[in-house]
């Protein structure tokens, strides 16, 4: 005789998600009242957000009830290393974009993803990174008339980077 399986419980990530949406809904409800739901001229700026806050909060409660009744299978989850590498490199790139200029910062960003993470050969990594940084800069600036940032450091700026 097999034992009956223990009653499944909602995954922690799902509960965290529900809590986040519930909290967001509650925050929107409160702050939209502050914005004013109704004015002498008619509906105020807070009316529509209030309705959306109510939808978010009530759906979070419904979702929680559904999960307690019948927990859904937790998602597979992402590859933490990949998420960290991509997000941190993007944040650094964005932070350095105005300081180092598009060409230098994008070159470093691409080299990191091609050479260090992607383990490509030197030649292939260098050529791709140059095309994606210097090549893209000139293609966008002169081909499409879309100005990408140049460095705010005078020395780099002087040599066109």
């Amino acid at each position: 005789m097999t034992q009956s399986p223990a009653r499944a419980r909602p995954a922690r990530s799902v509960l965290a998600g529900i809590a986040a949406f519930g909290a967001l809904g509650a925050y929107v409800l409160v702050s939209s009242v502050g914005l004013g739901l109704w004015t002498s001229l008619g509906p105020g700026p807070g009316l529509f957000p209030f309705a959306m806050g109510a939808v978010l909060a009530s759906m979070s409660v419904l979702w929680l009830l559904q999960e307690l009744k019948r927990p859904s299978a937790a998602g597979e989850g992402a590859d933490g290393g990949l998420v960290l590498a991509v997000v941190v490199s993007l944040v650094l790139l964005a932070a350095l974009l105005d300081l180092l200029g598009f060409q230098v910062s994008m070159f470093l960003f691409l080299m990191y993803h091609l050479k260090i993470r992607g383990k490509r050969g030197w030649l292939s990594a260098l050529l791709t990174a140059l095309a994606g940084s210097v090549g893209a800069f000139y293609a966008f600036n002169y081909g499409l008339n879309v100005a990408l940032p140049v460095s705010s450091i005078p020395v780099l700026n002087l040599i066109g980077l």
Binding site: S72, G75, G77, L90, V91, R120, T128
Partner: protein, 500 residues
């Protein structure tokens, strides 16, 4: 006659060499996006909006429309050659498409898919031409309450049809609306949800949000998998289908056109549903249904015709009523708005020349894709041989450029990163992304029409029920949202829709 004259005028504009180049570039980029398995049409179109910002409105929209239906053509190639759909709407094509590759008929499968797509797309565009005037005139009679009610129906349909859970779809829809409300309130001028940041007074850049939610989150959710696939382009001679293959495909293409066109008109229906239902109709009606699954041409010609007919038909509600029927069309609508064009009935009165030029370009784009797609199959397959790290790095490069160039501000790159993480969380929680993008674009229009309606009625909500058209539409919207309570069962094709 009037319509024909205007269409001819549209052709004159669309066939200037600049606009032809834009259409050509759009088809090329769209096909590449379609071929790449990682980037879907929603993120693809959003990503390339910045490229078109400095173009004139007609050229910009012509290019983006070409990108949009180019993705539909491109998605087929990997389905047939690799058994991996480039786009969700080509998923069903893998069954018979790949089976045809295994028996050495890959070239014929690709040609028939391209011809079917051309036929489906062209018929749907003819439908757009026929519907533009009458529906546009009807649309002009629509006041703010009706417009609001129409959007309620559109959003309810998408919410009801997206994914498995309506609760999650409603959360996604409400999130999109809330994001669209960040910034200065359009009526009273009060800042909302700006957290004291001046940069948020103009709202959150919709391109940065879409690229983050749809594009970056896709890359973040990659899993370590197989090496770069080995693909072989079919030889030139094998591209010609045999006479029997042509004869067998014709009825499948006709059925696919009907299915795709009909479903394309309904907001919330995705191209995947059209291709799945087209496959189902082949299983039921085709004389050769017993061969389906073993490399039957009907299994390629039908669905591929249907998804392209769908893509083009979905433009009809956008052009005539201003309602986007799918997430990709919503992004396209965002591009219209960025160019100062409001899709809907007023488009034909205020920007008639541009509207007809875009419609004419749809015909031209379909011809270009037919000519480009099959003969260049060698080029498309060579893209698939590019190693994953290089592709990922280049896609990230385009994302950063796309987000940055909208306002030439690093702030938008941070917005994209933040929304990429949000998108990843939504994916992991199995929350559909489609309702969010639709409400993100429609949010400001919806709020404006709600508030205008209530100002007309001096705050009386019965304005939505006293006017017959809006009353019927609101009732329909309520019925759709309450459908789970009424225990309507969704067709299998909808619950398994990979695009939802």
């Amino acid at each position: 006659m009037d319509t024909l004259n205007e269409l001819l005028g549209g052709f004159a504009t669309a066939m200037t060499w600049q606009n032809l180049i834009f259409a050509f570039l759009g088809c090329l980029l769209g096909t590449i996006i379609g071929v790449l398995p990682g980037v879907g049409p929603v993120a693809g179109v959003a990503l390339l909006i910045p490229l078109t910002l400095n173009l004139d409105p007609a050229g910009s929209i012509i290019m983006l429309c070409a990108i949009f239906y180019g993705t539909q053509y491109g998605g087929t190639i990997t389905s047939v050659l690799l058994n991996t759909p480039g786009e969700a709407s080509s998923a069903i094509t893998t069954i018979d498409g790949y089976a045809m590759t295994k028996i050495g008929r890959a070239g014929a499968a690709l040609t028939l898919a391209a011809v079917g797509s051309f036929i489906g797309g062209t018929v749907a565009t003819i439908g757009l031409v026929a519907a533009a005037k009458p529906l546009g005139e009807l649309g002009l009679l629509v006041g703010p309450p009706e417009f609001f009610a129409l959007m309620v129906v559109g959003i309810s349909l998408l919410v009801a049809l997206a994914g498995k859970s309506m609760v999650k779809a409603l959360i996604s829809g409400a999130l999109g609306l809330l994001i669209s409300m960040v910034g200065i309130d359009p009526v009273a001028g009060a800042p909302r949800f700006t957290f004291g940041m001046d940069r948020l007074l103009d709202g959150v850049s919709f391109v940065a949000v879409i690229v983050g939610v749809f594009g970056l989150s896709e890359i973040l959710s990659y899993r370590k998998n197989a090496e770069t696939p080995l693909v072989h382009a079919p030889g030139f001679r094998s591209l010609f289908p045999s006479r029997t293959e042509w004869r067998r495909s014709a009825p499948a293409m006709a059925r696919g056109t009907g299915v795709g066109f009909g479903l394309g008109l309904i907001p919330g229906m995705t191209g995947s549903v059209s291709s799945l239902l087209s496959y189902a109709s082949e299983k039921k009606f085709s004389r050769f249904r017993h061969e389906l699954g073993r490399g039957a041409v009907e299994g390629v010609a039908g669905p591929e015709t249907a998804n392209n007919a769908h893509a083009n038909a979905a433009l009809i509600p956008l052009f005539t009523l201003g309602i986007p029927a799918s997430p990709t069309i919503a992004v396209l609508m965002g591009a219209f708005l960025q160019q100062g064009l409001t899709p809907g009935p007023s488009l034909f009165t205020e920007h008639s020349e541009i509207a007809w030029a875009i419609i004419a370009s749809l015909f031209i784009g379909n011809v270009l894709l037919l000519l480009l797609n099959v003969p260049l199959v060698g080029l498309w397959t060579s893209i698939l041989r590019v190693p994953t790290p290089i592709l990922t790095a280049l896609i990230l490069l385009f994302m950063v450029i796309g987000a940055y160039t909208i306002n030439f501000s690093v702030f938008d790159v941070f917005v994209m990163i933040g929304f990429g993480l949000l998108g990843l969380a939504l994916r992991n929680l199995d929350i559909p992304l489609a309702p969010m993008v639709l409400t993100l674009v429609l949010g400001p229009l919806m709020e404006r029409s709600l508030r205008e309606s209530l100002e007309i009625s001096q705050g009386d909500f019965s304005v939505f029920l006293n006017r017959p058209i809006s009353a019927v539409l609101i009732a329909l919207g309520v019925l759709i949202i309450c459908s789970p309570l009424l225990k309507f069962r969704k067709p299998k094709a909808l619950t398994e829709d990979p695009e939802a």
